[in-house]
Amino acid sequence: MKKVLIIEDEKILSEMYRFKFTKEGYEVFAAIEVGEALKLAQEHKPDLIILDILLPKESGIAFLEKRQSMEAIKDIPVIVLSNFDDKETKEKAFGLGAKDYLIKSNFNPKDVLERMKLQIK
């Protein structure tokens, strides 16, 4: 079973995605902030990470920066799923290894799954 880590602080949305992904057959882990996310990632080594940008304490970019020095998790494919549509942030994310940057509200959960399938080998 493939593992997915969702990093999202809005509970309503986190739940929604967790429901959809679990239904699809993924094992889902959820974190609401960067520190927790890093711990969970190292512990469970997911096959994909769904990352929000606007998080409490640190932004999602910090997650991308911090995981660079962590051998175990630095190469896990990351899809940024955020409502923050900012050109600079997009560039930074891609520069730090994100595979995709999706605006949450433009996608149905089904569409997100399609994009995920492209990244999980």
Binding site: M16, K20, N106
Partner: protein
């Protein structure tokens, strides 16, 4: 040969030599001639004195005494005559005295061999044969010696008081010499009267002759004080040596028993070098002692001038230097005036500071200038006659004479040249000493060194001044020239500041607007995501099957949420447009493929509404164009969307064609509600929808066409609209260039409504 014989010998030689020297120097001058006579008299007296001292028998002794008296008889009158000549006294009184003097002398001359004059010779003290004075002798002494010499001294004293400068000094020497000479010589007379005092003064007679000679010959005399100081030190050392010598001898005898014993030799080895060291110390100590207690004024004065000379190098300010020179010289040398003249542009010399009011303020004498350039040393007015005498050129003699008059006129006793770089940059003019003494040799040596140093120092100061002035002038000019620039600068600066302030304000406003929109959009997007997400999942049956009614309801909710999401997206896009943030990502695009995609996207909605979408291919394939596919798709998509949404029946026809070599057209024709003529231009403005639009399509944000027009224009294209009017449909035409330079970065200013 006794002491007295030797003294006589010295006298003889000195007077002979001096007399001959003066005789051959200048036979015409009465001063010289009378001096020669005086020397002759002294010579005659000394030669017979010598002979007398070495005579062994009474008869020759007596003879020689008588002969020497002849010589000595003439000494007073010749002396007086010389004094009067030297002082250039030609008045009747003096002539009378001279005449009387000669008369008396000749009278006594005839008496020389008379026993009334000289009685005979007798043994007295160490002398075998000493003459005894007769009554006439006493008379002779009174009239000749006391009288004539006394008168001479009196005349000298009178003239000393009235004379200045060189003459005065010469007189001083002569008086001094006279006193030495005659008192020295007078020591001879004691024994004539059985007064038992030896004629030790004899030896100074030659000295007296020499002093007179020196005073007469030299035009620049040594300072007597300096000679006295030297003599003092010399005799001081001599006394020390004498003392040491006898002290040692006494030591040797008492300690070692003799001079030539071994311990004496050994001690000598130590003492000799010690003595030499002591000698030098003693020399210095005596000098200091002399300077401190005996010749204080002389010492101070020399020290001060030396200090001035050394100090000149450390100053660079012209005023300071000149004031220092003038002040120091005037004070130490006690002069009545000191002035500095500096060269001006015409080659004349202008006074630097006025010292005396009635003195000319400039020196224009060319001869003086020439003289200084040739001889770079001080010029003493009193010496001009001598310089004139030495010259062979008639014109030069005249020039010297004129110069002497000129210097007298400007009350200049001495002129010092200030030379620098082989040019005469100035002249220092010194007046007479207040004491009316002349400038001594030492004075003039000091002044010479001073004027050389001063020349250099003043030249430096002048150059420094020039540089300073140049610098100031330059600064002024630059300041003036840049006044304009500075004015413009301040103006520009101010303008820039104002502009900056305005920009900052505008940016602040813009930023807060954008931030507001961004924050709001984000906050709106989150719940919208949830609504959209869940409704889509419900629609997909993720929560179980739905009744048909439920399914409908869910659909509406979903569509509404999607609409809202689109609105939020548009708002954001506009905010970015307003801020001018749009950046085009240029690629090669196939317009045909793009259009096909747009048609595909809208087909569902069109089918739902029962409208047709027709796509007309171009005749020839349109080449790839450069553009941002996303933005173009959005633009075209927005227009097609509009077309569909504002049409109730019929459909939308899209035609792609080539307009000309460099332009292609996309025509989007609909059969919809059309546009009122008055709304035609308004629809492209943000938030403007046109009347018909407002009535019909409540979800149109009014932004679509605004965005579309801007994106198209970013691609250097045009968006046009035509409509017959209400319900007559509309035709939107997009024109785009095939080849164009597309600016990737775009700033926007929202055109007001």
């Amino acid at each position: 040969m006794n002491f007295y014989a030797i003294a006589a010998l010295i006298n003889m030689i000195t007077s002979l030599l001096l007399g001959l020297f003066v005789f051959f120097k200048n036979k015409k001058s009465p001063i010289n001639n009378t001096f020669v006579l005086l020397s002759l008299a002294v010579f005659v007296w000394s030669i017979f004195y010598l002979l007398w001292q070495i005579s062994t028998d009474r008869a020759s002794a007596l003879l020689y005494t008588r002969l020497l008296s002849i010589g000595s008889t003439f000494i007073p009158i010749f002396y007086l005559h010389w004094v009067l000549s030297f002082l250039e006294i030609k008045d009747k009184k003096s002539k009378a005295v001279l005449f009387f003097g000669y008369l008396v002398t000749f009278l006594f001359l005839t008496m020389s061999f008379s026993p009334l004059f000289i009685r005979g010779v007798e043994k007295i003290l160490v002398f075998d044969f000493w003459p005894k004075a007769g009554p006439l002798y006493t008379l002779y002494l009174l009239i000749s010696y006391a009288g004539l010499v006394g008168y001479g001294l009196y005349v000298l004293a009178k003239n000393y008081l009235t004379n200045t400068g060189l003459k005065r000094y010469q007189i001083r020497y002569i008086i001094f010499g006279t006193i030495i000479g005659f008192f020295g010589g007078a020591t001879n007379f004691f024994l004539w009267y059985n007064i038992k005092i030896l004629p030790v003064g004899n030896v100074v007679v030659s000295l007296y002759v020499f002093i007179l000679f020196y005073a007469m010959i030299k035009y620049r005399l040594m300072d007597i004080r300096i000679i006295a100081r030297k003599v003092f030190i010399y005799f001081g050392i001599a006394a020390l040596t004498y003392g040491m010598f006898y002290g040692l001898i006494w030591l040797y005898y008492t300690a070692f028993g003799g001079l030539f014993t071994t311990p004496a030799y050994l001690l000598g080895v130590i003492i000799a070098p010690l003595f030499v060291a002591l000698f030098y110390t003693a020399d210095n100590w005596l000098k200091d002692f002399a300077n401190k207690y005996l010749f204080v004024s002389l010492y101070n004065y020399q020290e001060t001038i030396n200090k001035l000379i050394d100090g000149l190098v450390s100053y660079i300010d012209l005023d300071k230097i000149i004031n220092l020179i003038v002040g120091t010289i005037k004070k130490t040398m006690q002069l009545d005036r000191v002035d500095v003249f500096l060269a001006d542009a015409n080659g004349d010399y202008q006074i630097f500071k006025i010292d005396i009011q009635d003195i000319s303020a400039s020196i224009k004498n060319r001869f003086l200038v020439k003289f200084f350039l040739k001889n770079q040393k001080p010029l003493v007015r009193e010496e001009l006659p001598i310089l004139s005498e030495n010259s062979t050129n008639e014109k030069e003699k005249k020039d010297f004479a004129k110069l002497s008059d000129y210097m007298a006129k400007i009350k200049a006793a001495v002129c010092l040249p200030l030379i620098a770089n082989k040019k005469l940059i100035g002249i220092i003019v010194l007046g007479s000493k207040i004491s009316r003494d002349p400038y001594t040799n030492e004075d003039l040596n000091l002044l010479n060194v001073l004027s050389k140093q001063a020349g250099v120092a003043i030249e430096n100061a002048l150059q420094y001044k020039q540089i300073q002035e140049f610098g100031e002038t330059l600064q002024e000019k630059v300041y003036e020239q840049t006044k304009d620039i500075r004015k413009k600068n301040t103006y520009l600066l101010k303008a820039a500041q104002e502009e900056g302030a305005r920009k900052e304000e505008a940016e602040r406003i813009s930023k807060s607007k954008t931030e507001f929109i961004s924050i709001v959009s984000h906050q709106l997007r989150t719940p919208l995501t949830a609504i959209r997400g869940y409704t889509s999942m419900l629609k997909d049956g993720d929560f179980g099957g739905l009744s048909e009614e439920a399914d409908n309801a869910i659909n509406y909710i979903h569509e509404s949420s999607v609409g809202m999401i689109k609105l939020v997206n548009s708002l954001l896009a506009v905010s970015r447009l307003e801020k001018g943030q749009i950046e085009l990502k240029i690629q090669d695009i196939s317009i045909e493929d793009l259009l096909k995609e747009c048609v595909r996207d809208i087909k569902l909605v069109a089918d739902d509404k029962g409208l047709y979408i027709k796509y007309n291919k171009p005749d020839k394939p349109i080449p790839l164009i450069s553009g941002d596919p996303d933005k173009l798709k959005q633009a075209i998509g927005n227009i097609i969307n509009n077309a569909i949404h504002y049409t109730v029946e019929g459909g939308v026809e899209i035609t792609l064609s080539e307009k000309d070599a460099n332009t292609f057209c996309i025509q989007i024709k609909d059969t919809g509600i059309g546009i009122d003529k008055e709304d035609a231009q308004k629809i492209f403005k943000s938030f403007s929808r046109g009347k018909s639009g407002t009535e019909m399509y409540t979800q149109g944000t009014g932004l679509g066409l605004y965005v579309a027009k801007n994106f198209i224009e970013m691609h250097n294209g045009k968006l046009l609209v035509e409509s017959e009017g209400r319900n007559k449909g509309s035709v939107f035409t997009i024109e785009l260039p095939i080849k164009s330079n597309i600016e990737t970065k775009h700033d926007f200013v929202l055109t007001g409504d």
